[in-house]
Amino acid sequence: MRYLFLGLALAVSAPSLTFAAESVGAQYENEIVLKGQIVDIVCELTGNCTKECGEGKRVLGLKTDDSTIYLIAKGPPLFANANESVLPFCAKPIEVDGLLIKNPKMPLLFVQRYRAAGSADWKDADGFEVAWKARNGESDEWFRKDPLVVEIVKKSGPLGIPGLAPKP
């Protein structure tokens, strides 16, 4: 009977424990679901705060109930972060699903999906790409078409040293 109750309890709680994170093949990756609120890390560490967690221009973190701050460093679009997706949850409850990269040098969080705390529906944390396409139009490789990137790479070359080209 005890095991029946335990089984039922696990079955009921299972949805909130389900991971859907996709592996990136990183040595230190761990699937994780975390609840907390989005914070501006400059504000948290120095008291220098601006409205709406810096409105996407400052480094963001997820602060959990035990006051741990996880650095948010990546989102699902290639070469992009999840800031656009999670920013609306500045100081508001959010649940994120993704990978915690536990490199002994430092941990970081790759947010793949998110939902408002208590909501049943997960959303992909692909806000960067959605916003980029709205500004710049459709592209399979935003990173090669981004005006800022194009300008910098045109000046410095693909290796970062003007005039230096890769061997053919």
């Binding site: 230190y28 008291g47 460093a73 070469f79 910098i152 290796l159």
Partner: protein
């Protein structure tokens, strides 16, 4: 009645202050020498992420809002939260133009939950891109 109103305002102000001013850690003045890197690729180690081989990718990531760090010559990562007077370090023009550069940065070091953060007050020296890794690694991740 007026007293009650002022008391209410005082409590509201106290509540706002406690929300907007999180506990502050004491920082330490440091000088860090190292390479400006894309935090995700270098910390996750999903690819070789240094020097000329990874220069273009680091520009892509900085333009995509991935935090920028200094990989110190001491082997530690320092996540950049401020550059000169600017705390807007996400998609920051200054940081975008010094990707993969070897720099000497003066600033304040703060640590939280296993991450070293640096508020850079000045880049005292910038040697440009000096880590020539493309002959060995090609251009990562796509070869072009």
């Amino acid at each position: 009645m007026k007293t009650r109103r002022y008391l209410g305002l005082a409590f509201a102000a106290f509540g706002f202050a406690s929300l907007s001013l999180p506990a502050q850690a004491a920082g330490k003045q440091v000088q860090v020498k190292g390479e400006i890197v894309d935090t995700f690729c270098s910390v996750s180690e999903i690819m070789y992420a240094y020097g000329t081989a990874h220069y273009q990718c680091s520009v892509w990531c900085a333009a995509g809002g991935v935090p920028v760090s200094i990989k110190g010559d001491d082997g530690e990562f320092y996540v950049v939260l401020k550059i000169n007077e600017d705390t807007n370090t996400i998609i920051n023009n200054k940081l975008l133009t010094i990707q993969a550069h070897h720099v000497t940065a003066d600033g304040e070091l703060l640590e939280r939950n296993g991450v070293k953060y640096i508020l850079v007050s000045q880049v005292a020296d910038d040697k440009g891109v000096v880590n020539l890794t493309h002959d060995e690694h090609g251009i990562l991740p796509f070869g072009n």
